[in-house]
């Protein structure tokens, strides 16, 4: 169908007003800004969205880190009055909520967004606009959640906000409502993101990219997204029940009406336990990519890695009640869940052993990315071991609500997830921005983080076993918690500085790179294995010039190395030689769009309406519906765009018969 190439001739319009017809639609055409703020606001490019996820997540890391330091300051010495009890409650709740929902989850989403299409050899995700929407609605929810600080105080019931403490009776302020509505909104983003990324992995793989040729990171992210897909609705229901209770006088958690507040715990942890795995699995995936590259060996036991990830995904659904051992769920349930919890340690152990086996006998290159990966393996294993001790229900009864728990989950989430993400940041930074981060600062970054991390959370094991309870605003000098608390506080400040030093590193590296005349880092700076390294750095907007045809696991690596006649592995080409030149022409990319942002903005409006006045919901809903329809009726492309191929004009032929 070539008719599309014809310019509308002037004579064709009765009024002869062809030129005015070219752009008559104002805001209703699709935006076309290659650079600038508007481009970032309207982009549907998975790479830009990934970078925005990462930036937002780093920002929230800062935002959630300040409360953490405040907590440590308050606990540094006995009987301190730095924070009031009320402020303390809000601060630890918001610290947990921000770190889990607005740092670790979006950081996983950042890597997933940036890397999934590249690793499976696709141009973009399956639904680029939904992808942009996922990000914006996450950000809208996150910001809305945090505006509670200025509009009446944050939530104060712990990140899980147990019922009935979260009810209007015990918590009349708006903090819980903000927590509730903010996370509901962010959850929409997670859900749409999950649908999008799963579809991408299942359906957008390059020719030849069969299941067992997918990189481990892709696999782990796929499992993660399935967990999100099925876990988010459960949280949504729990939060909606709470919303109805608080705003519309429902009775779901109202003990006076005979309800059982334990329902909240069940629903929350049915979501909450898969949540734990969906926070750690992306980090596992990153480490499984980094270690083989810098150990100069293929990953050991690839199928075991894959299937243990899938096993974790399934088993993660059967262990939620181990968060509730002391809630009175009864001995039978406790036994069943304790046994299930012990079993879930097996696939995780398989992963750790596989990483060790990959490292074993490898020619290790101990750069920052590798160090962070090894850091994950060690720190996470420590956290995993304390986790196994929770599986023993009788021991857990003693440990519940002590600092031992705090130590455990920080070891798995900070020492696990965040170390993995830092490894990924150092590893993929040159792919995204075209220059490496400074190794020297990087190593400082790593070692100071390890020291700070262990100083902060190591002592908490001891404190917990000594009996120091969580969520207590202060303690008495006679209780014997003084020394270790001081150590932990000192450690936390080291950790704070160390965590931030990656930003300093980025700044220094960028300046050095600019001063050196922006040298080309090359497509494959690490001599790596997966497909994203077979294209130029920074990644061209169209990703692949031609869709790669995949014949092996680590296909790119096999283009560089092959066995010679004697069965010895030899390098036959450099990454630069086999990489795609990045000059794709005539590639038809999805046009940017305003609607994802507009649609996302309607949600906080409705959210504020639910909290303050239902009248606000009316403009919110109108905006929502308008955005939805504007979205679906939006033309595929800007009119002046070069269509390349008349890919959506077969319709006219059919239309003529109708």
């Amino acid at each position: 169908m070539a008719i599309i190439e014809q310019e509308p001739s002037i004579a064709a319009l009765p009024s002869g007003a062809a030129r005015t017809a070219a752009k008559p639609l104002g805001a209703f055409s699709r935006p076309r800004n290659p650079v600038g703020l508007k481009n970032w606001l309207t982009t549907v490019d998975h790479k830009k969205i990934g970078i925005m996820y990462g930036t937002a997540s780093l920002f929230f890391l800062l935002w959630g880190g300040i409360p953490a330091l405040l907590l440590r300051l308050q606990l540094a010495r006995p009987n301190q009055g730095l924070l009031s009890g009320a402020a303390y409650n809000q601060i630890f709740t918001m610290h947990g909520t921000v770190m889990i929902f607005l740092v670790v989850m979006p950081m996983g989403a950042a890597f997933a967004n940036y890397l999934l299409p590249l690793q499976v050899g696709a141009r973009d995700v399956a639904f680029p606009r939904i992808n942009a929407f996922s990000f914006w609605v996450f950000l809208a929810g996150g910001i809305m959640l945090n505006t509670s600080w200025f509009l009446g105080g944050g939530a104060n019931g712990g990140w899980f906000n147990y019922a009935p403490n979260n009810g209007i009776t015990y918590n009349p302020g708006v903090g819980i409502d903000f927590w509730n509505v903010g996370l509901l909104i962010a959850g929409i983003g997670s859900l749409t993101g999950a649908v999008n990324l799963i579809t991408t992995v299942l359906n957008m793989r390059a020719p030849g990219m069969s299941w067992m040729r997918m990189p481990i990171f892709t696999w782990m992210t796929l499992v993660t997204q399935f967990l999100l897909l099925f876990a988010i609705p459960v949280l949504t229901v729990a939060q909606l029940l709470l919303l109805f209770d608080r705003r519309f006088d429902g009775n779901f958690f109202n003990v006076d009406q005979g309800s059982d507040p334990l329902l909240w715990q069940h629903l929350f942890w049915i979501f909450g336990h898969p949540e734990v795995y969906l926070m750690i699995l992306p980090a596992f995936g990153i480490v499984s990519e980094v270690i083989p590259v810098f150990a100069r060996k293929p990953i050991f036991g690839y199928p075991f890695m894959v299937f243990s990830g899938i096993a974790i995904g399934f088993m993660g659904w059967g262990v939620w009640a181990h968060h509730m051992f002391v809630s009175g769920i009864g001995p039978l349930s406790v036994t069943a869940f304790a046994v299930a919890t012990m079993f879930i340690a097996v696939p995780t152990g398989v992963k750790v052993l596989n990483w060790l086996a990959t490292l074993w006998g490898g020619k290790l290159i101990l750069n920052t990315a590798m160090l962070f990966s090894i850091g994950l393996v060690t720190q996470f294993t420590l956290g995993g071991l304390s986790g196994v001790s929770h599986a023993v229900a009788s021991a857990d009864t003693q440990q519940t609500d002590t600092y031992y728990i705090v130590a455990h989950f920080h070891y798995v989430l900070f020492g696990g997830a965040l170390f993995g993400f830092y490894s990924g940041l150092y590893f993929w930074f040159p792919k995204a921005f075209g220059y490496k981060l400074n190794e020297k600062i990087g190593k400082w970054n790593f070692w100071s983080m390890v020291v700070g991390f262990n100083l902060t959370f190591g002592p908490m094991h001891i404190l917990g076993l000594q009996g120091m309870p969580r969520r207590m605003q202060t303690y008495d000098a006679s209780q014997g918690f003084n020394t270790w608390n001081m150590v932990a506080t000192i450690g936390s400040f080291i950790l704070g500085v160390a965590t931030l030093s990656i930003l300093y590193n980025a700044l220094v590296s960028y300046r050095a790179w600019r001063r050196a005349g922006r040298p080309d880092v090359g497509p494959d700076p690490w001599d790596a294995r997966s497909l994203e390294w077979s294209i130029q750095s920074p990644t061209p907007e169209h990703n692949f010039d031609v869709s790669p045809t995949v014949t092996d696991l680590d296909d790119f690596w096999h283009h560089k190395y092959q066995e010679d006649d004697n069965g010895v592995l030899r390098r036959i080409a450099t990454g630069k030689e086999v990489a795609q030149p990045g000059n794709g022409e005539g590639v038809h990319l999805p046009a940017p769009s305003y609607w994802p942002l507009v649609l996302a903005l309607s949600f906080p409006l409705i959210g504020y309406g639910l909290i303050f006045s239902l009248w606000l919901c009316i403009p919110g809903v109108v905006l929502l519906i308008t955005a939805l329809y504007g979205w679906s009726l939006e033309p595929a492309d800007d009119l002046d765009d070069d269509h390349g191929h008349g890919d959506h004009h077969e319709r006219e032929l059919v239309g003529a018969n109708g």
């Binding site: 319009l13 299942l202 359906n203 909606l240 033309p635 109708g658």
Partner: protein
């Protein structure tokens, strides 16, 4: 009808103008994905995504239904346990019948109008049939029937919702309020959620009807009809569950 002008005038002088108009009119997007792209599984992205979304909805309604069941049990247990009348009856040794009677009276079942709800179920099933016939029509290029069946689906769905409004009104008048009891909260939340989903489906159907009257819903967009159909049948399935679990099983 703008579209007909645009397509019929192709051989006239205004061909390019019509083409231009048609471009403006053209609404392909992920919403109406009608291209046959290469995909790894050979399946359409939209349809796969729809099924994934429905999978996540299963968990949502599962949570709501189990919440309702738990609330109902709790409500009755609490009611019996806290009622001196019943305790007295138990101590007198005549507990069985009395307790059962108490439960039957206090529960939501006496309010149920099973004949009417059965009718609602039939109406929703009917709408499923007309939905699937609408899809059939569009794959065969029979746009007249497409419009008729889509409209029928929407009308039947709206009738179902009218039944819901009627039911809620009568229940409310007879004393089952949203905030009055745990049972009321759970019942209205569950059925209300289903109702909200039906309403969403109705609006989608309305859009399809509008587009089909504008000649924008044609054979190549059959998948859009199918996707809305998938959603609609899913809502029907949920009602099948609710009808049996909530209404029929005491």
């Amino acid at each position: 009808m703008a579209e007909t002008t645009a397509t019929e005038d192709l051989d006239h002088e205004g061909a390019a103008a019509a083409e231009f108009a048609d471009q403006l009119n053209d609404t392909p997007s992920d919403f109406v994905h009608h291209e046959e792209h290469y995909t790894s599984l050979g399946l359409s992205n939209m349809k796969l995504a729809m099924w994934l979304f429905l999978g996540s909805e299963v968990l949502l309604f599962g949570a709501l239904i189990s919440t309702y069941l738990l609330s109902k049990t709790r409500f009755i247990t609490e009611l019996v346990a806290g009622n001196p009348y019943v305790i007295e009856g138990i101590s007198n040794g005549e507990n069985g019948a009395l307790v059962n009677e108490m439960i039957a009276e206090a529960s939501v079942e006496p309010l149920f109008d099973i004949p009417f709800t059965s009718l609602s179920s039939f109406i929703l099933l009917m709408s499923s049939l007309s939905m699937v016939l609408a899809h059939k029509s569009v794959t065969e290029g029979n746009y007249k029937n497409l419009r008729i069946w889509l409209s029928t689906t929407m009308l039947l769905g709206a009738t179902f919702m009218a039944g819901q409004v009627y039911e809620f009104t009568t229940f409310y008048r007879e004393g089952l309020t949203y905030d009055g009891s745990l049972l009321g909260t759970a019942f209205y939340t569950l059925t209300g959620f289903h109702g909200a989903h039906v309403t969403g489906g109705l609006i989608m159907l309305g859009s399809l009807i509008y587009l089909s009257f504008k000649n924008k819903m044609q054979m190549d967009r059959a998948e859009t009809v199918e996707l809305v159909g998938l959603y609609w049948h899913f809502v029907d399935i949920v009602w099948v569950l609710i009808f049996t679990i909530v209404y029929l099983i005491p």
